[in-house]
Amino acid sequence: MQKFLFDINRNTGVQRQYQADLTGLLDQYDLTGEEREAIATRDIGLLYVLGANGQLLMHYAAFLGMPWADYIAAMRKGISRYGPVRAGIYHMTTAMDEKVAGV
């Protein structure tokens, strides 16, 4: 999952394949069913909970064209729906209603 995010964030060829043949692109990565579903459905909240590095995920959300407030809200929604972040160093430490930057 992280490798997919790394590749698509920095490689315009991978970005083109994402638009043209997502299934073929995802077949090239070692993804769990949950990871594949999260990518296919653009579920930023689930990717966050699964432990995607925050920087990888932030750039990916930008690639998807998500406005900042929607991206922050999607991560909160992921936590409320799927539970705490399961891996990595990008855990949520604030309360669900604590909008520290106003969004």
Binding site: K3, R10, N53, G54, Q55, M58, H59, T94, V100
Partner: protein, 273 residues
């Protein structure tokens, strides 16, 4: 010739990408401080600028992660991010492979480096350059300290990296500018984005200003993670600059701007003997 300028600056993508979401006076004040640093850098008449960055997976990934890497190319490009999102158009950035090679050879006397003949810049370098060399006309030597994928190099190794950088800069005929970019405390790219531990930041900057090596190296990653978030690991770039400059620092600007997700910082350091 030698190191002719040293400073530190924030690089958060919101500084350019979300400037329209903050009070215009606040954004202008900080951007003005950044341009002030650009003027002081230009006044030092550098032939090249070393940017010590903490990149975010534009080039280096956990499949093969160097603790320290130095670019060695005549041309770079960036940003990798959506230009509209970052507020910085995609552009070519000049480098100098020959200068990089000489710097790397000297630094390798004491620090094990990776070098990279290909390097794409992300916001960690593009945001500083947008203000410091807005015409992208000064050759850049990018350097990276892994602050993203633990295990991370210990702080004393970041210090040794800075010392090697200084020795290398002093060994070449060119006039070298140096800027370290990163955050102090911040929790970027999480729902916490905007959380800033201002007291922690100010204590770190105080230690940085007086170049207190033992105090700067006293942070453990566990304490930093707890008190300053995963973004706090980027203090490595600021510590490397202190080691390289060997002078006293002056904080020109500090203000916690939550929408920019970091305590926005502009500081210079004098070049010590």
């Amino acid at each position: 010739m030698s190191l002719v300028f040293a400073g530190i600056a924030s690089h958060a993508p919101g500084i350019t990408g979300r400037a329209n979401l903050v009070d215009p006076a606040v954004a202008q004040e900080f951007h003005g401080a950044y341009r002030g640093m650009a003027q002081r850098l230009a006044a030092a008449r550098p032939d090249a600028l070393i940017v010590v960055a903490a990149e975010h997976f534009a080039n280096f990934f956990m499949n093969n992660m160097p603790s320290f890497a130095v670019g060695m190319a005549d041309r770079y490009e960036g940003p990798i991010e959506d230009p509209q999102w970052l507020g910085i158009p995609h552009t070519a950035v000049p480098g100098s492979a020959a200068l990089s090679r000489r710097l790397i050879r000297e630094m390798m006397q004491t620090v094990d480096l990776a070098y990279a003949e290909e390097w794409k810049f992300d916001h960690g370098i593009m945001v500083p350059l947008h203000f410091l060399t807005p015409r992208f006309d000064l050759p850049i030597v990018p350097m990276n300290i892994n602050c993203q994928g633990p295990p991370l190099a210990p702080l004393h190794r970041a210090w040794a990296f800075g010392e090697a950088l200084r020795r290398a800069a002093d060994s070449v005929p060119e006039r070298i500018g140096l800027v370290g970019t990163g955050g102090i405390s911040h929790w970027p790219a999480t729902p916490d984005s905007g959380k800033i531990n201002e007291a922690w930041d100010l204590q770190f900057l105080q230690r940085w200003q007086v170049n207190d090596r033992p105090a700067l190296l006293s942070y453990t990653d566990e304490a930093t993670y707890r008190d300053a978030g995963q973004g706090g690991f980027e203090i490595r770039t600021f510590i490397a600059v202190a080691a390289a400059a060997r002078g006293r620092g002056t904080v020109e600007y500090y203000r916690a701007i939550p929408m920019f997700a970091v305590g926005c910082t502009i500081a210079d350091m004098g070049i010590g003997e």
